[in-house]
Symmetry: C2
Subunit: 365 residues, 2 copies
Amino acid sequence: MSETRSESRHARWWQTPARALNTACADAARARQNQLTKPPGSLGRLEDVAVQFAAIQHSDRPRVDPVHISIFAGDHGVVAEGVSAFPQAVTVEMQRNFVSGGAAISVLARQLGATLEVINCGTLADPTTLPKVIHAPVATQTQNFCETEAMTDAQWQQALLIGRAAIERAGQHQAHLFIGGEMGIGNTTAATALLCALTEMTPAELTGAGTGLDSHGIQHKTRVIERALQRHVDLLDDPAAVSRALGGFEIAALTGAYIAAAQAGIAVLVDGFICSAAALCALRLNPSVQPYLIFSHCSAEQGHRKLMTHLEASPLVDLNLRLGEGSGAAVTVPLLRAACALHNEMATFAEAAVSGKLTQGTLEG
Amino acid sequence: MSETRSESRHARWWQTPARALNTACADAARARQNQLTKPPGSLGRLEDVAVQFAAIQHSDRPRVDPVHISIFAGDHGVVAEGVSAFPQAVTVEMQRNFVSGGAAISVLARQLGATLEVINCGTLADPTTLPKVIHAPVATQTQNFCETEAMTDAQWQQALLIGRAAIERAGQHQAHLFIGGEMGIGNTTAATALLCALTEMTPAELTGAGTGLDSHGIQHKTRVIERALQRHVDLLDDPAAVSRALGGFEIAALTGAYIAAAQAGIAVLVDGFICSAAALCALRLNPSVQPYLIFSHCSAEQGHRKLMTHLEASPLVDLNLRLGEGSGAAVTVPLLRAACALHNEMATFAEAAVSGKLTQGTLEG
């Protein structure tokens, strides 16, 4: 506490602690789980989810509605190094697909009855032809981080605030769950560079196929990331500098959103590889965010499983997904809803007049 | 084919082959997946699910509605050996809880908009006080299979037909997915005995805590199963005899239901340990059932992961569930629905005017 106070003159918004969890509600929820008509613990992860939401929502009857989904899009200077299997035009083309309803996340958001918004954080192609997209461009794209820092400090802070603004809108919608998604040709390269910089892992361990590189493409991408890490070797101890130098506008926006969600007391369902890199940045900038982050799935992208192990996170599902857009998180929302519905609606042993467990004495007899 | 014909005089209904899959529809579905606005393969298991449903439903636009859930309940003579942590009264008490809406499966069925029916296959307590339960008792309980065969052949066939009748009702509801659930104090003991008899695995490897035995209880249960296997050692080469001698009314009903579903062309979502034992019996009695079975989750019950490996099955999720009642299967239905919605509703690259993948020449340039 005294440390926080002494630093307060210099504290930035992203360093403000997350909203406190309500442990009394968590205890009440755990007690209720043990009274419901099932062998204690037999709903496994779903029991833990209900208790976690109870603590986050300060309620012993937690809920997962409404869900707010924000997709952040941005272009990456590092694409000049030939690291992606798709052309950069796709970053804008997919934004059109998101808002016109044909993308995976559009389909899933409809299924969930979720609010879906698309935020252009800075893309090469002219985005103003997309009227349903929120325009907040930081620049036309990041700088090529093999040559210089991807963003200036002002740009990085601007990108973080794009994320915070999304959480303000989520709050206006009374969202009980936030999903961030991303779109940005080249962003598995940026995410991999971030992970290498923030952990002990190497590009050779973490670099994967992204949207579909072959083995030569992956080797090339690995070398590009190695060059970038070499270029910025002096910054690697400072998470803010790492996020700025090796990240992307949409990744920084996700980082800002995750932090702001935790500060606002809104649970976050983290999507795959890129989002987990943004979550790692959020955790390094503000460790109090941790209990608000639920990792939804283990991505097929090479480095994701290693990152999950590094974070001691157990993603809810492992379905070999690697699409991004928040799609993996959206797919798992019904698991969270089932967890809360079971918690709230199941009868207790007393209510249902169902017999409890035998004593071991009876059992062994 | 000639073999089938020559045996037809002796063939029983459960040996009739499953409805043929439609490979043209599967090919069309796979081709469509590769045209949707995502990197090819990036929806992982969800793509496979959509293609599997296309083949099963003879449609390139598959669906997972309506869902029909049948819970089969039965009591077990082997409980006299002290193998369960709960009293046998729970088998009937939980049937009341299913139909009055307080059980886990009741909550989940409501969430899914699924038809839920409860079938009493034979329980000790008087079940006629439960008006919303379908009464089809084979007997008050099975025989203790440590002493004699659990069922007579006539009882076993009667139990299989209970399952087939459930599939007839599912068909009347135009169900596109069938979930079987089970309730029966003592039925992890029966299921473990079945698995040991039908595979190379031993009671020591497979026996688990069931509804909540401690380590002494598990040791005792292991010895009970070893005695049962010794008692019926002459039958172990015949899957029908194994299912009859070591199973249960509700397990045989599940086996009959799985076979009848495949014959009717209805996809089956298999729940946890007990249901997987019933599915193994179905596969041994009629291997053509295999493509209709989707394994929903890897149960926390000791032997389930080993059985999944034995069957080369990859359950959709692993959430440490061990409740039964069909609950784990019900929890995963939204994943199947998401798979079909994505398949049916996503835009193609052409429809959305999104650029495709670069050639590797461009990439490496």
